[in-house]
């Protein structure tokens, strides 16, 4: 197992804090993209707290690893994450979505330190990440670039233009580019397979020249194994398909496509808070029991 027991426990604690701060921000903002934010909470946590070489005290370090969150509508979990990292003041989260705030649904890379790219129009993240990876190799740097895609955005043709190019340019730098798909199975109007079928999804990535790993995107030891394999690299670029649950951790939202975006009333807020506390407790107990 790639993670020690203590690392696993530490990640669980951070992920729990992140989910809780995200639901608080949804509450302050009045509404938010809880669904797709919660599904990538563990991916973001393990990247920023374990695998991405990123020093929050030096967020513009040219040698840092890059993280491009192509599913840009999850600003409401990125802002809390950056707040936990010390890049955004905690109080600023209370301004999320307010008129004049520097924090809105889609974060602005010119306003949020440490955000490697603005995103929002879906299907844009992979090309941007390719550019960063190619630039890194050309400039003699060994940084890695991670790009996090939503599964729904894989309907966009530009994702597959980029997939083709990621394989094509593997000797020119994209061997350092790791694609992670947050496969939460849901999009705004319903299940991905009902709206625009993605399956056989893994086969598609394989056909585009990727080494693929399908993994439970809410299981830190498994995510860690997948990331270590991808970071070690190989002749093909890696695509980690992280099987996740949209709305994870909150009873009324988990697996419910209608919770792509939504508002919390007081009852729902209270339920969400207690559900998340319970969910975190269970996960921590598992880490303590199964960690080595």
């Amino acid at each position: 197992m790639a993670l020690t027991k203590q690392e696993w426990i530490d990640l669980e604690i951070k992920a729990a804090e992140l989910r809780d701060l995200c639901i608080e921000t949804v509450n302050w903002a009045g509404s938010g993209h809880w669904g797709g934010s919660s599904s990538c909470a563990d991916i973001l946590t393990i990247l920023y707290y374990k695998y991405a070489n990123f020093d929050p005290k030096n967020p513009t370090d040219p040698d840092r690893d890059r993280v491009v969150v192509s599913k840009g509508h999850v600003g409401i979990i990125l802002a809390p994450l950056f707040s936990m990292l010390g890049l955004i003041k905690r109080d600023d989260l209370k301004t999320f979505n307010l008129t004049g705030s520097k924090l809105g649904i889609h974060l602005d890379s010119n306003k949020v330190k440490g955000l490697d790219s603005s995103t929002g129009s879906l299907g844009h993240g992979s090309p941007i990440a390719i550019g960063m990876a190619l630039a890194g190799k050309l400039m003699g740097k060994s940084y890695k670039t991670f790009v996090i895609l939503g599964d729904g955005e894989c309907d966009e043709g530009s994702v597959w233009e980029a997939a083709m190019a990621t394989s094509h340019f593997v000797k020119r730098g994209t061997s350092n580019l790791i694609t992670i798909v947050d496969r939460n199975h849901n999009m705004i109007d319903g299940n991905t397979e009902d709206i625009m079928a993605l399956e056989p999804f893994e086969d598609k990535w394989k056909a585009f020249g990727f080494e693929t790993i399908v993994v439970d995107g809410h299981d830190f030891p498994k995510l860690a194994d997948a990331l270590e394999k991808a970071i070690a690299g190989g002749p093909k670029p890696f695509c980690i398909i992280a099987d996740t649950v949209k709305g994870q951790g909150v009873s009324f939202a988990a697996g419910n496509y209608k919770w792509h975006y939504g508002a919390l009333d007081e009852a729902k807020y209270n339920t969400a808070k207690s559900d998340l506390a319970e969910y975190a407790k269970k996960r921590l107990a598992r880490a303590e029991k199964e960690g080595k």
Partner: protein
């Protein structure tokens, strides 16, 4: 002018405008290792071969995928490179517009877009390849500097200026050869500053791109045959536009004709009109360009004649405009 351009007017008669771009970027690349070039399977058409041969590791052919190219260029710029991405104007401005908008302009990424085959310069290819909306579209993009050079030497100047200024640029050039407007690169090119090509106080012709040469020819005919002194402004930069030169022309001549190889909606004529109207002084404006119709196919020069943006068409329209009265009066009959 930034200096150092090694082309002469003799070269510019032998080289297509895109070839001058290609040689300029190869020259700039020698002194700036952050310059990289990207092409969507158009390295031959957009003349990036020189750069590729000198710096193969800094050239990226992304295949026929303009959106991907602009996205990649944005990522490269975010990481510290200065990418020059080149493709046909119609595909840069329309197909990749979403990437230009969000990846490049929103982030103020240091990406230089060299949009070739501008206007109707690829006339025989038909409306799928005529770029008659690009300037109007890209002019609305925040942070983007938009330049439409008059000839090869001005293209070299524009490319050098783009490399010297941080931020996104859209430089629109033509397919093939341009008529030579400048016999030296040292005429004082400055981004955002129009160049007066001919002095005059009777009427002002404001043009960009291939229409600058035609406007100069028209001014010569107007002078010789009609004793009219037409000021000709080369408005090479559409954004930021030279408001001062336009308002001075309003004050001095009260009659303005704009000429562009572009639809009359949204491009140079519209940009000039915006400045005139906001200036608050009466002025007659006629916008020459491609009307709100699909253009026929044909040779560039034939299409320019068809759309009355060649010298003859400009003369005819200037003479019409000279019959109009910009003075304050109660009789509108002579103005409609």
């Amino acid at each position: 002018m930034a200096g150092g351009i090694t082309f002469t007017a003799v070269d510019s008669t032998k080289l297509a405008t895109a070839e001058i771009f290609g040689k300029t970027i190869a020259e700039l690349g020698a002194s700036d290792p952050t310059i990289v070039c990207l092409s969507p399977d158009l390295a031959t058409s957009t003349k990036m071969r020189d750069f590729f041969e000198k710096f193969p590791d800094r050239f990226f052919n992304v295949g026929i995928a303009e959106q991907n190219m602009i996205g990649i260029a944005s990522g490269m710029a975010r990481a510290g490179l200065m990418p020059f991405a080149s493709c046909f104007s119609v595909f840069a401005s329309l197909r990749a517009l979403d990437q230009i908008h969000t990846d490049v302009c929103y982030q103020n990424a240091n990406v230089k877009i060299i949009a070739t085959h501008g206007g109707t310069s690829f006339g025989q290819a038909g409306s799928t390849h005529h770029a008659i909306e690009d300037l109007g579209v890209v002019r609305t993009m925040v942070n983007l500097t938009v330049i439409c050079p008059a000839d090869g030497l001005e293209t070299a100047n524009a490319v050098k200026a783009a490399a010297a200024i941080n931020g996104p640029f859209y430089i629109r050039i033509n397919r093939g050869f341009d008529n030579v407007v400048y016999n030296t690169p040292d005429y004082g090119f400055e981004v955002g500053r129009a160049v007066e090509m001919n002095p005059g106080t009777d009427v002002t012709i404001i043009a960009c791109g291939s229409c600058v040469y035609q406007s100069m020819q028209a001014a010569s005919i107007l002078d010789h045959d009609h004793k009219l002194k037409a000021r000709v402004l080369n408005m090479h930069t559409l954004k930021p536009i030279d408001r001062e030169a336009i308002l001075q022309a309003v004050m001095d001549t009260r009659k303005i004709v704009t000429v562009e190889d572009h639809t009359v909606i949204g491009g140079l004529g519209s940009a000039v009109a915006e400045v005139i109207v906001e200036g608050g002084k009466s002025c007659i404006l006629r916008k020459l360009g491609i009307p709100d119709k699909w253009s026929p196919i044909g040779l560039h020069e034939d299409l320019m004649a068809h759309h009355q943006i060649d010298a003859e068409g400009i003369v005819k329209n200037v003479l019409d405009v000279m019959k109009m009265d910009a003075e304050k009066d109660e009789d509108w009959g002579d103005e409609v």
